[in-house]
């Protein structure tokens, strides 16, 4: 890609709209306005951030949900021009003195759930957007031809430009945008791009790639807003890229109310990470990939579509393997100042297959979810195959979790005889066939072959396979690891009722960013009663929501622990770090808060999102159902892989003597018990959350949380009455 190529691309642009705005400084974490862009009528406007927005929604996902709520109706489909993509940072986003302040939160109506979806992503876009002058970017409408939107935070100008020549795939367009909009090499660090890829043109499981410029490698790198198909929405709107540029100073650009408070807690945690990460989770060397063998040891690693929790070949995907492949000694900072530096990359990787065969690229990752989802869950234990899958999922704009969980589903369908080679265009989709998985991925990229069907996601595939191939719908319902239309992320929850709830009750679908209670429940045995579980399913989803309101990554909260944490009253909450966040929020915004206030902030947004689901036709108890594979053994093979465990549970918990019973009889008895347990759990959780038995926030709850807007109350009352 030469300078001449870039010039030619730029010359081919046609500017469809321009909007000049006054540059202004961020005040105590807020730019105090949001940017609205409509691609149908090429309108660009500024909207004010009101005090009510700050009080009720805080920022980040809160702002996104509010803007989206007002932009769509309950009938809006994901591919209507009316659907929006909203991207927001948050008041603490962009802070450089505390680790993990680079997150953006993205919301939209999802192509797979048909309801409100949120997805979080690290990197530079959110902070640069805010420093460029905007607390959120709200995109509505649909362009006629492929466009880019360029937000120039140096000049105070926003343009919509037709962009016919640029690539669609992210590893290409990311570099193209950096070359195009940076006047110097140094300026590349001031640019961040949001893009998807050719896979998102065809599949419903499209992801967004958010670029950041790695100054040490002198290369563009990517983080993903993976979940829920928002990359597909981006491409449906004919957006090739959203680009932001901001060249001012970053360290002080958030203009906090009291910098000293931030520096104090920031210095302490940065020192903690530097001193102890190496003897704790080694995030600075391995990132989340450290978890793979640990999950295997606890029988929690998804193997063969979540049938099993461990596999003898797991050492091929161990921490040591990934540490040897990731380039070490290069701090992989995501946003500036993050000492956790957990975004690792494999440099100098030669692509083996597909349209980019022979190119030498950087592979960003893989993270734990990709290794488990595209690896062990598919029976694939070849780390190089996973690098290839990771690279192509990213550049094609496809969510690795949905790709992995969907592929694992079809592999089980194939082995169960629902699919055959005639249906799969000759692909032998047994577990473990990495070449076949890669071929599916390339087919998704092109929108052809059986891969195009897999790209529809599990919920649609269940329907297609029943209608067209005679698949048993009940069996597929049991093994299809999706809920609410979103594919499961990568933890086996059979032995943790709390985590079954953590997944089943999550607002967007089974993504673990709301709750990760497996160890508290299954191993620590800290949640023995329903009430304990309900309390955890109130606190942790709400606490974890808070990060997304503020532009923060949750990893520095609990992937590093103070040495005296064990002596605190509630070590699982990491109280010292919670207090850090109190200081951080107060120090940035000037608003004095307590740790209880942080929970209230989140409860407001959490409950609002639940009502948003109701608005879109969901949001009630029936939609909190989960597939039985997430609760217990579906097949004889699964039961008999853990006979001792299940027989003992039948005896001690169910009061059923397994002696003399067939495996099928034992499975039926266990299933009845476990399904009942889930329903009992939901009852208690709903009550704790202030919801009706049908899972709807009550008017009293809405009032307490100040989200009793007239249209919200009206909607809830209709459903309750």
């Amino acid at each position: 890609m030469s300078t001449k190529d870039i010039q030619k691309m730029r010359q081919a642009h046609k500017v469809l709209a321009e909007f000049d705005y006054e540059l202004s400084e961020v005040e105590k974490g807020y730019a105090n306005r949001t940017l609205y862009v409509n691609l149908s009528d090429n309108a660009i406007a500024s909207k004010p951030v009101t005090q009510q927005m700050k009080d009720v929604f805080t920022g980040g996902k809160g702002f996104g949900l509010w803007l989206l709520w007002n932009g769509v109706t309950g009938d809006t489909k994901w591919n209507d021009p009316e659907n929006e993509i909203v991207i927001a940072s948050g008041p603490i986003g962009g802070t450089t003195q505390y680790p993990g302040a680079g997150k953006s939160l993205v919301v939209s109506i999802s192509p797979t759930t048909h309801s409100v979806m949120d997805s979080n992503v690290g990197g530079h876009f959110g902070p640069l957007l805010k420093f460029a002058g905007w607390d959120a970017l709200e995109i509505q409408g649909q362009a006629e031809k492929d466009v880019i939107v360029f937000i120039d935070g140096n000049e105070g100008k926003v343009t919509i430009e037709e962009a016919p020549e640029e690539a669609v795939d992210s590893h290409l367009i990311g570099e193209q945008m950096a070359e195009m909009f940076a006047d110097t090499e140094r300026e590349k660090r001031d640019i961040s791009t949001v893009s998807a890829g050719s896979g998102a043109d065809h599949a419903l499981i499209g992801c967004l790639n958010f670029s950041w410029y790695d100054v040490r490698r002198k290369k563009v790198r990517f983080k993903q807003a993976g979940r829920g198909g928002i990359g597909t929405v981006l491409r449906d709107k004919k957006i090739k890229a959203l680009v932001v540029k901001y060249g001012g100073g970053k360290a002080a650009a958030n203009n906090p109310a009291d910098r000293k408070r931030i520096t104090k807690v920031g210095s302490r945690i940065n020192q903690e990470i530097r001193d102890y990460d190496a003897v704790q989770n080694r995030m600075r060397n391995t990132g989340t990939a450290y978890l793979v063998t640990i999950m295997n040891d606890y029988d929690l690693l998804p193997v063969h579509n979540f049938k099993f929790g461990a596999h003898p070949e797991v050492e091929r995907l161990s921490r040591e393997v990934w540490e040897s492949k990731f380039t070490q000694g290069l701090p992989d900072g995501c946003w500036l100042g993050c000492t956790m530096s957990c975004s690792h990359a494999v440099d100098g990787y030669t692509v083996r297959t597909g349209p980019y065969k022979g190119q030498v690229v950087i592979v960003d990752g893989p993270e734990y979810e990709t290794i488990a989802g595209c690896g062990s869950s598919c029976g694939i234990f070849d780390p190089d195959a996973l690098l290839e899958i990771n690279f192509y999922c990213d550049t094609y704009g496809l969510d690795t979790i949905s790709f992995g969980t969907s592929t694992a589903f079809i592999m089980e369908c194939y082995e169960a005889g629902i699919l055959n080679k005639e249906i799969t265009d000759g692909l032998d989709l047994n577990f473990g066939n990495a070449d076949a998985a890669l071929e599916l991925l390339h087919q998704m990229g092109q929108g052809e072959g059986f891969g195009a069907i897999v790209g529809q996601g599990i919920r649609r595939m269940k329907h297609i396979f029943a209608q067209e191939y005679g698949g048993d719908p009940r069996f597929m319902q049991d093994i299809g690891m999706e809920a609410k239309g979103l594919e499961y992320s990568e933890y086996v929850t059979k032995e943790s009722l709390a985590q079954q709830g953590g997944y089943g009750l999550a607002s967007k679908g089974p993504q673990h960013d709301e709750a990760w209670l497996i160890f508290m429940d299954m191993v620590n045995n800290q949640l023995p009663t329903f009430e304990d579980k309900a309390e955890a399913l109130h606190y942790f989803p709400v606490w974890r929501t808070w990060f997304g309101l503020c532009g923060l990554c949750k990893l520095p909260w609990n992937d590093i622990t103070p040495t005296d944490n064990a002596e605190t009253d509630e070590p699982s909450k990491i109280p010292e770090h919670v207090q850090n966040y109190v200081e951080l929020f107060s120090g940035v915004t000037g608003r004095e808060v307590t740790k209880e206030d942080l929970i209230t902030m989140s409860e407001q947004v959490y409950n609002f999102q639940r009502v948003f689901n109701l608005k879109m036709g969901f949001g009630t108890r029936q939609h909190d159902a989960i597939p039985y594979r997430s609760m217990g053994p579906v097949t004889v093979e699964e039961y008999e892989s853990r006979t001792e465990r299940y027989d003992r549970q039948l005896k001690e918990l169910v009061g059923c003597d397994p002696e003399g019973k067939t495996t099928e009889e034992k499975m039926a008895a266990l299933r009845a018990y476990r399904e009942e347990q889930y329903e009992l759990l939901i009852d208690v959780v709903y009550k704790r959350r202030g919801w009706t038995p049908d899972g709807i926030p009550t008017p009293e709850t809405l009032k307490r949380l100040h989200i009793d807007f007239p249209d919200v109350l009206e909607l809830v009352r209709q459903h309750i009455e």
Partner: protein, 78 residues
């Protein structure tokens, strides 16, 4: 990982997290328990009869028959 056991305890067992029973033998240490249970998670806090055991003493702290052991994994991941 061994399975959680039932409500009736044998006399030569160590109960961990009030859920997992590990057969007690002379010389059982904290490290042995972690190994038997495959508790490989890096961030754990171990207490024996309510008293926290420093990590540096895992190899030398002996566990007695009927001791109540807690191995609390600090939630991370995800």
């Amino acid at each position: 990982m061994p399975e959680g056991r039932g409500r009736v305890r044998d006399s030569e067992m160590i109960r961990v997290n009030n859920k997992f029973d590990v057969e007690w033998q002379e010389g059982t240490t904290v490290n042995s328990i972690l190994k038997i249970l495959k508790f490989t998670f890096p961030m754990v806090v171990v207490s024996v009869n309510g008293k926290i055991v420093p990590r540096s003493e895992y190899g030398t702290t002996r566990i007695g028959d009927n001791d109540a052991v807690k191995v609390i994994h600090l939630v991370a991941g995800g």
